[in-house]
Symmetry: C2
Subunit: 301 residues, 2 copies
């Protein structure tokens, strides 16, 4: 496994792999890898000849400097995991390499980003679309892999790729959850033991929304109120949003539908967490656990 | 010569040409071709195996609807000229093809676009960078060709390509002028015979700036005042800007330098014209005329 920092060096490798006619899969991450990332890497290995893992904590997608500074980083551990998972190249550029002095060009999706997280994190998605554009141009992958936990991000990227006619297939894979249901996120590292317990109410609230819908409740307002109740009871009061949305447009739905998704963002202590679930999603936690446990067994081996 | 309208069809042709290992040159235009475009096509033919001519009047780069509606269009004449010049493929998509319903992603350069034309045409350069990004993604050319008459546009595109790590060489070729010095532009078609006479003062003002600098004048203010005098005398009073700028950053220079460029935008009747010239540019009109005339002879043959 190679680790490359300069853009020029990365482009040269890509050109070399291309002359051999190999297909490339890109897994762009901010490092601090977890089993969610592993699921992306494994799918990328299945579908491509070579897998390139991007590791770059992208400063321009952070709306709060404190969040940027405290974002978990552990490149050595990431390298170990990547190597174990058969990644071919890690592309880990410096901030100065990606944003040299005088950098001034940005890519912005202006519709989907108005909603949900976009309202609460000004500039966040602009940072995401700009850095993803750069990575796609540097690596020219056949496929790029993203996690559905970042529901809005994956939609925004798909929209950008379509709007700007980019030559890449965007693959979005299901959220990977811990045994207790908490969606995996690098930010979970920030949670204390108590906060982690509190955070479980996010999963419970989503499951409750699904149950309510299954039992015939279609009034979004009623569903969201029950969710708020569960979060409040657990001690979560700083809720950026809870929303029942159209799975394509992410527009809020007053009337819940089978294809709708319920999404939320809230703060547990100083940590902002997001999660979402399809209202008719059939995979139960129980069904998911075996696969998860086996992933985890390998990771901790 | 092929003419292609659908993006999918264009991408298929590009993929086909790529499998044959051919290099591609893109000349993106808004049609109403003139000898300035011809110089781009000819250079593209010299440097690439295949030449693709883009013809698309890009609605989102027009800040005034009247200007968009009246923009000269003559696709049949353009096709004739393109065929005569050895263009391999014309890519002429519809507006609906380029901007389908719900289009919402834009590319924006935010530094160079603050100045000169950017101040007077809000959204113009955002429209340019967005459509050029799309064309570059659809066609993946090795080289793309632009004219220096659109000084700021060529700088903005070069900056975008560098910032976003796009895989294309941007080639910028000198302004082509008519025998009397008027910079060729599709918009010249809008000028009446009298207005065309008036418009010559733009060239005269630029030449005068060069003469002043050659004779030792380095105070930009003095140079620009003389230019204004020439324009006023000819009857041009609506002047968006005249400016002595750094050739790279396009920042205004109080003190003119040998590498500086003098640029201006003004209105002749209802037509907005732009032009620019290096203060030490050595090619005189006389020196340029033979080449021009031969171009014109061919065009009118």
């Amino acid at each position: 496994m190679k680790t490359i920092a300069p853009i020029k060096g990365m482009k040269e490798w890509v050109a070399f792999l291309r002359t051999k006619g190999l297909t490339l899969g890109l897994v762009p991450t901010m490092g601090a890898l977890h089993q969610g990332h592993v699921s992306l890497i494994r799918r990328a290995r299945e579908e491509n000849d070579k897998v390139i893992l991007g590791i770059f904590v992208n400063p321009i997608q952070f709306d709060k400097e404190k969040d940027l500074l405290s974002y978990p980083r552990d490149i050595e551990k990431d390298k170990e995991l990547a190597s174990r998972e058969g990644v071919d190249i890690i592309f880990a550029p410096s901030v100065e390499e990606i944003y040299p002095k005088g950098f001034s060009t940005f890519v912005e999706e202006e519709d989907l980003t108005e909603r949900l997280c976009g309202e609460h994190r000004p500039g966040h998605f602009r940072g995401v679309t700009t850095v993803v554009t750069k990575l796609l141009n540097i690596i020219s992958p056949d496929r790029a892999y993203f996690g559905l936990k970042d529901l809005q991000q994956s939609h925004v990227i798909k929209k950008m790729v379509r709007d700007l006619n980019m030559n890449v297939e965007v693959v979005v894979l299901p959220t990977v959850r811990d045994k207790d249901g908490l969606a995996l996120s690098s930010r979970n590292q920030h949670l204390s033991r108590t906060e982690r317990q509190t955070a479980l109410s996010i999963y419970k609230a989503l499951i409750r929304a699904r149950e309510l819908f299954a039992s015939g409740e279609t009034n979004s307002c009623e569903i969201l109120q029950e969710m708020h109740g569960i979060l409040h009871k657990a001690g979560i009061f700083q809720i950026d949003y809870t929303s029942v949305v159209d799975p394509e447009t992410l527009e809020e739905l007053e009337e819940a539908r089978p294809d709708a998704v319920v999404a939320l963002a809230c703060w547990v202590g100083n940590t902002r967490l997001i999660d979402n679930m399809g209202l008719s999603e059939t995979t139960s936690l129980k069904e998911r656990l075996p696969a998860l446990s086996s992933l985890e067994r390998e990771a901790h081996a």
